[in-house]
Every structure is written in C-alpha cells, then in structure tokens.
Symmetry: C7
Subunit: 97 residues, 7 copies
C-alpha cells in the first residue's frame, strides 16, 4: 500500500524492519520493541529537496535500501493497518550495505 | 464554502476525510477521531511560496489531491459550520495516488 | 480612526468582524467570542516588506478585504475606544472572496 | 535630555505619551498606566540598520512622529529623572498621522 | 589595566560609570547599584565585526565614548581588582554626547 | 560490522576507545565509564556535507583517526551486539595525532 | 600532551592559568577556583573556520597568547591527567597583551 504514497519534497516512507533481519551484508540486529527499532527499509522517496534559493537537489536515498534510523523525528502513519514512518532524507543516519 | 477562501502564499485549505475512505487507489484507512485523522483533501491552494530573496515558486499541491497530514501544524477554521484546516504546502507529508 | 494609523513595513491593521457577517460571498460564520473571532477586515496596509538583502516587496493584502485570521500573533491596540489588531501580512491565512 | 543620546544602528528613543493626548489627528487614547501605554513620540533616531551583507538602509522613522508601540521589546532607560524607551525601528507597529 | 585587553571581533571593554556623573553634556544619572548601572565608558574596542560571508566592517564605537548599556548581555571580568564588562558593539543602545 | 554502514552526508561512525589506550602519540587517558568516554576512532565517513546553496564539501575526517568527542550529540546505534556512535563531522572537537 | 591534539575547524585548545599569574603586561588576576578562572593560554589552534558558503577564514588566535575566557561554552577534556578546555575562537572575549 505504501506504493500509493508520493512523499513530498525530500521525505521518504520507511517500513521498520524486524530485529532479527539478516540484511544483504548478513547483519543481525539487537532485539528491540518497535519504538526503538533503528533499522528500516526505504519504500518510497520524494521528488527532491528545495534550497532556500529555490533550486532543488536529488534524493539521498533510493527505494529498497536498508537504512539506520535516528532516535527522533520520524512521523508514524497508519495505512490499511500497516504502520509506516515518514522522515526527511537528511534525518536518516546512514545506509546499511 | 471553501471555494470563497483564497489561501495566502503557500498555504492550502484541507478538508479531513472520513476514515473508511476508499481513495482512487483503493486505500482503506484505520478508524480515528477527527483530531488524529491523517488523510485530507486539498480544497484550495495559495498563489505560491516566496523565498528570502523575494523570488516565488509554484505550489507543491493541486486542488482535489488526497494528502497525508502531519501530526502538528494545521490550523482549524470554521466556516458555515464546516471545519477546514489550513497548512503550508511544505508541511504536508505526501500525496495519496 | 484607524485611518490615522500608517502600519510599518508589512503590517496590516485589522478590525475583527462580528460572527454573523454575510461576506460578499454570503458566508455565515460560527458564533465566537472576540478573542477567537477568525474573520477580520483590512483597514490599513503598510508600505511593504523588506528582505534580508534590503530589497522590498509589495503588500499581499489591500484595504477592504475580508481575511482569515491565525489563532496567534495579532497585537491588540485600543484607539478612541475602538479595538484593532495588528498582524504582519505573512501571518494572515487567506482572503475571503 | 534625550537630545544627548545618539541611538546605535536602527534604534529609536521614545518618550511615552500621556493617555489623553490629542495627536495631530485629534485621536484620544484610552487611559492606561505607563507600562501598557501604547503611544509614544520619537525623540531621536539612529544612523540606520545594517543587513547581514554589511549594506545599510535608512531609518523607518523620523524624530517628532507619534508611533504605536508593541507590547514587548522596549528597554527602559532613566536619564535626568526622565524615563525613555529604546526600540529597534522594525519593532514599532506604525505611525499615527 | 584594561589597556592590556584586545577585545576579539566586535567586542568592546566597558567600565561602568558612577551614577552622579556629569557627562560632557551635563547629564546627571539616577542613583543605581552597579548591577543596573546603565551608563559606561568605552575603554577598548575590537578589530571589527565579521559577516557570514567573511567580509568585515568597522567598529560602531570608539574608546572614550560614554554609552547606554542594555539590561542584559554584558559579561563581567575582573582584572587587577577592577571590574570591566565585555559587550558586542551591536548590543550597545546608544552613545551619550 | 561497521563496514556495512555508509553514513549519510557529513556523518561519521565512531567506536569509543577504552580508557587506557596508548594512541600513536603515547597518550594515556583517564578512566571513565562508556558514557563519558571522550576518545573514539573513526570507522566510516560519509560522502561529504552539503551547504545551503547545494554545493558540497569534503569530509573533515578520515577512517582510522583517533578523535576527541564532544559531551553531547552522538547517537548510539547497536549492530551485531557492537555499540557505535554517529556524529556529524563538525561536532567532533579534534584529532589526536 | 596538548600538542597531540589538532582542534577541528575554528576550535582552540586552552589551558586555564593560575590566578596569580603575571602576564607579560604584569597583570595580577583575582583569586578564583578553576571553574570561574577567566584567563587561559592558547595551546593549539584549528585549521580555520568555514562559512555557510564553504569559504574558510584564518584563525583569530595564535598558540601562546593569553586570552580572556567567556563564562560559558568551553568543553573540558582530560588527557594524561591534564585538564584542557576546547572553545571556538569566536567565543573567546579577547587577548591579554
């Protein structure tokens, strides 16, 4: 269902990943409840950020990437009983290869 | 009645949508009371945003679009017993196709 | 008496309108006490806003327009026993046609 | 004694006016104690404001003008047992013609 | 001893003046304890302010001038049992001629 | 495992160092518990910082450097039972040669 | 040991000076405990500050200078049982000749 969402500007739609996920790189994460879960997958990305002078830049992230989430910021949305989180791309800490 | 309102700058007039709305994409939303309702429809859009250097840019949204609303920001207005909410376009999380 | 006031920069002088006002567009507003009254009329406008680089821009509003007021910001002034409110034009939500 | 003061940058020296003052335009103001008094007269003006890029602009006000004071900001100074208030010109709400 | 201090950027070293000082213009000030004393003399000035774009500007004040002090900001320093205060030149309210 | 992390923008991944570490320069550090540990090693660096005008700059740090950590900012992440901290390069106090 | 520290950007490493220090100019300072000690010596300086537009500027201070410290900001670091403080050069009040 996330596919229907077109995030605005430099926002990204994230689905938080279960703790025992083996990412491509074989990373096993510590067990945490959903609120603190730090790893997520990019479902959708916005059209890009806009600078104060009106120019725009490309997104920092791509759909499908596993990412490290900050402790704050993300806004929870509930669609079709599925929970997603919306962040700005600049708030994401890093990508997990 | 929202049609009488011309939002200033990059503001948009939003009508919050009932929870069990099937958007074009067939999305069914979780039941919530009005305050937390996260989906709305764009009724009217402003003339565009103005940057610090005085230049302006086009609106990010168009009337008729279903949008994902942030948990904060929106200001409630009451006109002809109908409730609307005014946001800045940059505060809207995304568009629901 | 508001006519004596020349607002500075991009400020506007607003007189709040009674609740049951039929604007040009025939809009009837919900009954509220003065503090929450959301509709007002532009009595006077300033000379324009000034950007950080010193350039100025025209006002966003004109005397006589009915406008939607934000919940915060406006400063009350009392002149000749008449109550007016001073806002910056960027704080006004929209115009009621 | 205010004449000895040369305000710095875009500051202005204001003497608050008694409530029952008839300004040039014949305005009679509501009775208030000094703290809330909203009308004042410009005694002295600074040399002009300076923008972030170092350029300067002229003052917005001239000595002798009656002005509308904001509820906050002004700093009280006591010289020769006379009370004055110092504001930045951008903080003044408007001029009373 | 203040002569040994070279203030950095647009800072100035101020010595607060006793209350009953007759400045050049013959101004007699109200009696206040040191903390509230609003008049001071410029002892030393810095090399100038630096804008965000790296350009610099000259100081607004010169050693020897009597100045009006703001209620806040100044930082007290104690050198050789003499008390001085360090402000940024933009924080000083005005010069007393 | 930190090698799988690609920090975003000007972020760096830091592993805090035990207190009795002899750095290349033979520095012995004071015994502290993990929370206050001020020394860390750069494991991974981001792709560079982005200025408001969209231009980017190189990173200030390189993998392998020992660095002095600020008392605040760093965000703890837990991967494969190993604790790392993510900072922005501008938050790091200095490099220990 | 401070010599091993390379401060980042426009930071400086300061060692606070004992109170009864006779600086080159013969200044004797008031007795204070370490926390309030206002005089320090520059041990090391960073590579320079960076403006928002990416350009850099030289440092304002040089190693060996005695400086006046602000009441706030400095971050304490402990290396080899020696206490140092890290400030940004713009936070330092002035130089003691």
């Amino acid at each position: 269902m996330a596919s229907r969402i077109v995030p605005l500007l430099n926002r990204v739609v994230i689905r938080k990943l279960e703790s025992q996920l083996k990412s491509a790189g074989g990373i096993i994460l510590r067990e945490k409840d959903d609120k603190d879960l730090q790893i997520g997958q990019v479902m959708k990305v916005g059209t890009g950020a806009m600078f104060d002078n009106g120019k725009t830049r490309d997104m920092l992230l791509k759909p499908g990437q596993n990412v490290l989430l900050p402790a704050y910021f993300g806004q929870e949305i509930q669609i079709d009983n599925e929970k997603f989180y919306i962040y700005k791309d600049t708030e994401i800490l890093g990508v997990l290869e």
